[in-house]
C-alpha cells in the first residue's frame, strides 16, 4: 500500500500576526514555522500507524513550497515518512497547489491520500477536495476516525450536529482532524534517520492560479471588557439582553 500525506508549513499557533508590503504579505520576520497541526497530528500520525500495522506500506510526503519548507519536511520524515517530495514553488492559490499534488499523485499511484482538515493560516479546507476532483477519486472531508478493512476504508466524518460512518473502496482522499490519531513526538532514531531519507525536489507542472490575496487586515480591536461584580449578575443579564441583544 502506498500512502501520500500532504504537509503544509504554517506559522506557529502563537505567532504574532502582522503584514508587510502594503498589507499584502504575512510578516515572516521572527516567526517560527511548524507543520500544520492537522497534517502532523492526525494525517501523518495515522499514516504511520497504518504502516506499523502493515510494514509493507510506504509513506510519501508531499509539500508544495519553497526551500524554506525543508525543515518542516525533515521533521515530518523524523516522525515517520519514508520519503518526501517538494514541489518547488511558493504560489499560494489553492487550485495551483492542488494541481501540483494531483500531478505528483497521478505519476505515483497512491492507494490513500491524507490531508489535514485545513491549514491554520489560510483556513481553506479545500485542497483535498480539489485534488480528489482532479484525480476523479472519492473524498471524505473532516474525518474523525479512519480504519482500513482490507482495501475498504471505514471513515467517520463530522456532519452538522453529529457524525456519519461510511465505507469507501480505495483509492481515496481523506481530510483529517481530531480523533483520527494522537499527536506524537519524534524520537532520536527518527531524527537521525530523517537526515538520510530521500527528499526529492521537482519543478511545478504548468497550472493556472485563480485567486490572489488583494489585502490583509487585522480585525478591529475589541472596545474592552465591561466588568460586572459577581454580586450583581442581574446587571450582566440586563446588559446581555438590552445592550448586546445577545439573547
Amino acid at each position: 500500500m502506498k500512502i501520500l500525506v500532504c504537509i503544509s508549513k504554517t506559522p506557529d499557533t502563537t505567532a504574532k500576526i502582522a503584514f508587510t508590503d502594503n498589507n499584502t504579505k504575512f510578516a515572516e520576520g521572527g516567526v517560527q514555522f511548524i507543520i500544520n497541526p492537522y497534517d502532523e497530528w492526525y494525517a501523518l500520525v495515522r499514516a504511520i500507524e497504518l504502516k506499523e500495522a502493515d510494514p509493507t506500506a510506504q509513506i510519501h510526503l508531499i509539500n508544495v513550497g519553497g526551500p524554506d519548507s525543508e525543515p518542516i519536511i525533515r521533521k515530518a520524515l523524523a516522525l515517520g515518512g519514508d520519503e518526501a517530495i517538494r514541489v518547488n514553488t511558493d504560489s499560494a492559490d489553492s487550485y495551483y497547489i492542488a494541481a501540483q499534488i494531483a500531478t505528483v499523485a497521478s505519476q505515483n499511484g497512491y492507494d490513500l491520500i491524507l490531508t489535514g482538515k485545513e491549514t491554520i493560516d489560510y483556513n481553506g479546507a479545500s485542497i483535498g477536495g480539489m485534488v480528489a476532483e482532479l484525480l476523479d477519486l472519492p473524498y471524505i472531508a473532516l474525518a474523525t476516525k479512519f480504519e482500513l478493512n482490507g482495501t475498504t476504508a471505514v471513515v467517520t466524518r463530522e456532519i452538522d450536529g453529529g457524525e456519519e460512518i461510511a465505507e469507501v473502496a480505495l483509492p481515496l482522499i481523506v481530510s483529517c482532524q481530531k480523533g483520527v490519531a494522537e499527536q506524537r513526538i519524534p524520537n532520536m532514531r527518527g531524527i537521525m534517520s530523517a537526515r538520510t531519507k530521500p527528499l526529492k525536489v521537482v519543478e511545478p507542472a504548468p497550472a493556472d492560479t485563480l485567486t490572489t490575496v488583494a489585502q490583509f487586515e487585522l480585525p478591529p480591536a475589541k472596545a474592552g471588557v465591561k466588568l460586572v461584580s459577581p454580586d450583581n449578575v442581574g446587571e450582566l443579564v440586563r446588559l446581555l439582553h438590552e445592550e448586546a441583544k445577545a439573547f
Binding site: S126, A141, I159, G162, T211
Partner: protein, 323 residues
C-alpha cells in the same frame, strides 16, 4: 448569467446555514444585477422548496432521486456542475459547513473556478474586480481575496450573513442530473439528539479546566438549558475525557461563531481563542482577573464559577419567566 446556491438539507429539512447562503446568494445576485437559483439535492417537499423564495431565490431546482439520500461528494459535485451549466451560473455558493466543505472544492476544481472558502462578505466588484473577504489565521486576521477566473465559487461562513426574508416567491423546477453511482456507502448516522448542535448554535456555554472535574458540569448544562444554548469545552477538558470530543472548540477543534459565547473557567489561550473569536459577544467568567480571556471579552465577571454561574442561571430564568 445567474447565481446558483447549493441549499444543503438533512432529512428533508433545509439547514439554517443554507438559508444564510440563499440570502447571501440573493445579495450577490443584486450586486451582479442577475437572478438567484437555489439547488436542493435530496428529499424535500414542494412547499419547503417553494418557501426558499422568501429568502431571495427566484427559482428552486429540486433533484430528489435516491442518489442524493446521503452525501457522496463526487455525485453531488456532478449535479451542482450540471445545474450551474444549465442555469448559466457564473457564481456558485455553498454554505461552509461539513457538506459544503466536501463539495465546493470539487465543483471549483471541475469548473476551474476560483474558490473563496469561509467568505464573510458580499463581493466588492468596484473597478471590475471581484474581492470577497474571509477570515484567515484562524480568525486573527481578515483577507480580501480576489477571484480572477470567469467562474467563481464561494462558500459562506456560517453565522456571518443574516438570513433575510424578502417575501419573494420561487418557481420550483424538477431537476434531473445525470450522475454516476455513489462510491460512498453510508452505514451509520449518529446525531446528537435533543441538544442544540454546536456548529449551528446561536448561544454557546463553554467550560474549561477551572471547573475541576466532569461532576461539576451540571452548572454549565443548567445555564445552557436556560439559554437554549449548546455546550462546548476547552481542549484539555476533552482530552481528559470530562466531555465528549465533539464539544472541543479551538484551533484543533471546532471553529464556532455564535451570537453569544460564555466561557467559564477557561484561561483564553490563543489556541482556544482561534476557535471562538468570531463570536459576536463574548462573556468570560474566571476567578483570575489576569486571565488572558478578559482581553478578548465584551463582558466579564471576575469570580468563582461555582458561585456566579448558578446565580446567572437563576437571573436568566427569572428574565425569561421560566422556573
Amino acid at each position: 448569467m445567474s447565481v446558483l446556491i447549493f441549499a444543503d438539507q438533512a432529512e428533508g429539512h433545509i439547514k439554517k446555514a443554507a438559508l444564510e447562503a440563499i440570502s447571501y446568494g440573493a445579495g450577490v445576485a443584486a450586486v451582479l444585477q442577475t437572478t438567484a437559483t437555489a439547488l436542493v439535492l435530496g428529499p424535500v417537499s414542494k412547499e419547503d422548496a417553494a418557501a426558499l423564495g422568501k429568502y431571495g431565490a427566484q427559482k428552486v431546482l429540486v433533484a430528489s432521486t435516491d442518489a442524493f439520500g446521503h452525501l457522496d461528494g463526487q455525485v453531488y459535485a456532478q449535479a451542482v456542475v450540471q445545474a450551474a451549466q444549465s442555469e448559466n451560473a457564473t457564481v456558485i455558493i455553498f454554505p461552509h459547513n461539513p457538506d459544503g466543505k466536501a463539495v465546493a472544492p470539487r465543483v471549483a476544481a471541475r469548473l476551474k473556478a476560483g474558490l473563496v472558502s469561509g467568505a464573510t462578505s458580499l463581493p466588492d466588484v468596484t473597478g471590475g474586480g471581484f474581492v470577497v473577504r474571509k477570515n484567515v489565521f484562524s480568525g486573527k486576521a481578515i483577507a480580501g481575496v480576489s477571484i480572477t477566473s470567469p467562474l467563481k465559487v464561494i462558500s459562506l461562513n456560517p453565522n456571518s450573513y443574516p438570513v433575510k426574508e424578502t417575501g419573494g416567491t420561487a418557481e420550483v423546477v424538477d431537476f434531473q442530473p445525470t450522475v454516476t453511482a455513489p462510491k460512498v456507502k453510508v452505514t451509520k448516522v449518529d446525531k446528537v439528539v435533543g441538544e442544540v448542535p454546536l456548529s449551528e448554535a446561536e448561544i454557546v456555554v463553554s467550560g474549561g479546566r477551572g471547573l475541576k472535574g466532569p461532576e461539576n458540569w451540571g452548572i454549565v448544562e443548567d445555564l445552557a438549558h436556560a439559554l437554549g444554548a449548546a455546550t462546548a469545552c476547552s481542549r484539555p477538558v476533552a482530552d481528559s475525557g470530562w466531555r465528549p470530543h465533539h464539544e472541543h472548540v479551538g484551533q484543533t477543534g471546532l471553529t464556532i461563531r455564535p451570537n453569544l459565547y460564555i466561557a467559564i473557567g477557561i484561561s483564553g489561550a490563543i489556541q482556544h481563542l482561534a476557535g471562538v473569536n468570531g463570536s459576536k459577544v463574548i462573556v468570560v467568567i474566571n476567578k483570575d482577573p489576569e486571565a488572558p480571556f478578559f482581553k478578548a471579552a465584551d463582558y466579564g465577571i471576575v469570580g468563582d464559577a461555582f458561585d456566579v454561574v448558578p446565580k446567572l442561571t437563576a437571573a436568566i430564568k427569572q428574565l425569561k419567566g421560566i422556573s
